[in-house]
């Protein structure tokens, strides 16, 4: 594991940039624990102060320190992404491995449902959820809903790997030595798909955070939990750009873009690491 990390740091520029960006973002999220003000409180500092040495990122029209708001917001946003990713990973692993290993009608049925979830436009459905739930739509609820909608694409990737694993000799050996399907999937096949699970985690986090920001900006989530989208929502409510309070919008956007690009670069570099051909060419070997 450490050797992999060292190789990635040494040969992969994308990984280096990605880890720096994600590092900064995670650092901000950790700092949120030291925030001098409770995140929900308003009018704790003078409003509309531009960035200065006292307030690094300025203050909002609601009298909040933008720096500490951003810290808390990015922490909640990241936690949201991780929660969605973790739950949907379990779903896509179970469905992908089972579908690839079993084949036949189980595979056809699962993949029919799977393709449906890939195609369906999720945003109107999420809006419908919010419309019906209104104020009872909590943070965790939204994470659960997004997880049950967002597993499909990765399940297909995992299925493709599981299908080829099934034909390998060690799978046959496992069957002949009397292992059950569950044992084969968890003990024999799971380790092989773990790299894919890691790289899709990053992409899935990007996906869910993007949707969460979009929903929050429209006010379609629990707007009292500070998230990046929620910050932009409040800034829009106070017409921050027109009023010239640009720092209220610029800093959360800058931080969330760092998170997006960082996570994406980590996913890309991990994908490249999984593919031996591109790894070779990066280390200076191979054909091209």
């Amino acid at each position: 594991m450490l050797a992999i990390l060292r190789d990635l740091l040494k040969y992969n520029l994308e990984f280096r940039i990605g880890i720096i960006l994600v590092g900064i973002v995670v650092g901000l999220a950790i700092l949120s624990g030291f925030s001098p003000y409770p995140p929900g409180d308003v009018y704790v500092v003078p409003p509309d102060v531009p960035p200065s040495s006292a307030y690094w990122f300025g203050t909002t029209s609601r009298g909040q320190d933008v720096f500490w708001q951003v810290c808390v917001a990015i922490r909640n946003t990241l936690l949201f992404g991780i929660t969605v990713a973790a739950i949907s990973r379990v779903l896509s692993l179970v469905i992908g491995l089972l579908s690839g290993y079993k084949g036949g009608w189980i595979d056809r049925a699962l993949m029919g449902v799977n393709d449906t979830f890939i195609v369906i436009p999720l945003f109107p459905i999420l809006v419908l959820f919010y419309f019906v739930m209104r104020d009872s739509m909590t943070w965790l609820m939204l994470a659960m809903i997004m997880a049950t909608l967002g597993w499909a694409y990765d399940a297909r990737l995992i299925r493709a790997v599981a299908m080829s694993l099934k034909t390998r000799e060690f799978s046959q050996t496992a069957v002949f030595s009397g292992m059950t399907t569950r044992e084969i999937l968890t003990r024999e096949h799971l380790p092989y798909v773990m790299p894919i699970v890691f790289s899709t985690t990053m992409n899935n986090m990007n996906w869910s955070i993007g949707l969460e920001v979009t929903l929050s900006v429209l006010g379609f989530t629990d707007i009292n939990t500070p998230t990046i989208g929620g910050m932009i929502y409040w800034a829009n409510q106070h017409t921050a750009i027109v009023a010239g309070v640009w720092w209220w919008i610029a800093f959360p956007i800058a931080v969330v873009i760092m998170a997006f690009v960082g996570l994406f670069l980590l996913a890309v570099s991990m994908n490249e690491y999984i593919d031996p051909r591109s790894r070779l060419s990066r280390m200076g070997g191979g054909a091209r």
């Binding site: 369906i120 436009p121 999720l122 459905i125 419908l128 009872s136 932009i232 091209r288």
Partner: protein
């Protein structure tokens, strides 16, 4: 030919399944809630001002049918489906008494126009540039383009739209940032109106293109850079075949198949992006309609837009799937 028929049947089956599951999700969402949706919607509408009592009664009736309150669950389920199959979502509550289907019908051409044009431009541009970048790997400008694509691609639509809005709305106001056409022009096939529509669509289309182009670029580049190492490409190069011909009909042609499938698979996501982009730029399409309907508490309209989007996106996917054999003739054999 029978191979193509089997393919057709399979695709149609998938289309029906998507619509079926989508509508069922809508049904479950609206029925599994502990809140009484009918009274909540009514109170949300009536709190905005005075509404005629008969209008409220008509709303309540249509809401009850839409939500399917009353009767056994089987009856509820079938009423729901029959309403949806007839595209009858009752009168809109925020624009009473205009029927929901009329509102959607008015907004749909805007969305479809914006979406089709920007998706096609994005796809063509991304694949062309990606193909070139994969073939001419040592070119500095294509490498730079790859870096830009990697930076832009993961950012969600909303953020890019907002940044374009800030740049072209406040810092350098040269383009209209809201609406579908100039307010003072009558709608019709006049030159002035079409020009105004085009001008208003630049920013929404640009934000869709900026985000979308990256993923096609990156996908095509990695596909092409794998294909150029294949034996037949090396052979063609050694045989002195014109390089442009190698790139066009040997390399890119073979990489197009997965990209067409990719287009079908990402259509739902592109549509999500279009909804939010429309809202940011106040474009008079389905997305703006949906978001405003939520603010106004207009249940029939929200359900209508959701259903129409599921139908529309799956029809788009079906269309791409049916065209797929043009790109990859092997489908007919399989």
């Amino acid at each position: 030919m029978s191979g193509y028929l089997a393919y057709l049947a399979k695709r149609l089956g998938q289309f029906v399944l998507v619509v079926f599951i989508g509508v069922n999700i809508a049904y479950v969402v609206t029925h599994a809630t502990p809140i009484d949706p009918v009274e909540q919607s009514i109170s949300a509408v009536t709190s905005f001002g005075n509404t005629a009592p008969e209008a409220i009664e008509q709303m309540r009736q249509s809401l009850k049918e839409l939500y399917g309150v009353g009767g056994s669950w089987r009856e509820q389920y079938f009423t729901f489906w029959s309403r949806i199959l007839r595209a009858d979502f009752g009168p809109s509550m925020s624009a009473f008494p205009t029927p929901v289907s009329a509102l959607i019908g008015r907004a749909l051409p805007w969305t479809v126009g914006l979406l089709v044009v920007s998706t096609l431009v994005t796809w063509a541009l991304g694949n062309l540039l990606g193909g070139l970048a994969g073939y001419y790997q040592r070119s500095r400008s294509f490498k730079l383009m790859g870096v830009v694509a990697m930076g832009l691609h993961p950012i969600p639509y909303y953020i890019v739209a907002l940044m374009l809005l800030i740049v072209f709305g406040f810092l350098w106001p040269v383009l209209p940032i809201t609406g579908g056409s100039a307010m003072n022009l009558p709608q019709g096939w006049t030159l002035a109106f079409i020009g105004s529509v085009l001008k208003h669509s630049i920013l929404p289309a640009l934000s869709l293109i900026l985000i979308g182009v990256g993923s096609w670029f990156l996908g095509m580049r990695s596909l092409v850079s794998n294909i150029v190492t294949e034996d037949y490409v090396q052979f063609a190069e050694l045989g002195g075949v014109n390089r442009r011909r190698i790139l066009g009909s040997y390399v890119m042609r073979n990489a197009l198949g997965p990209q067409v499938t990719g287009l079908a698979m990402s259509l739902g996501g592109i549509f999500n992006g279009a909804i939010i982009t429309e809202k940011v730029f106040g474009y008079p399409g389905v997305g703006t309609l949906l978001v405003d309907a939520v603010y106004a508490g207009d249940y029939g309209l929200v359900l209508g837009v959701t259903t129409i989007s599921i139908l529309g996106v799956s029809a788009g996917v079906l269309a791409i799937d049916l065209l797929y054999p043009l790109f990859d003739p092997r489908v007919q054999v399989a």
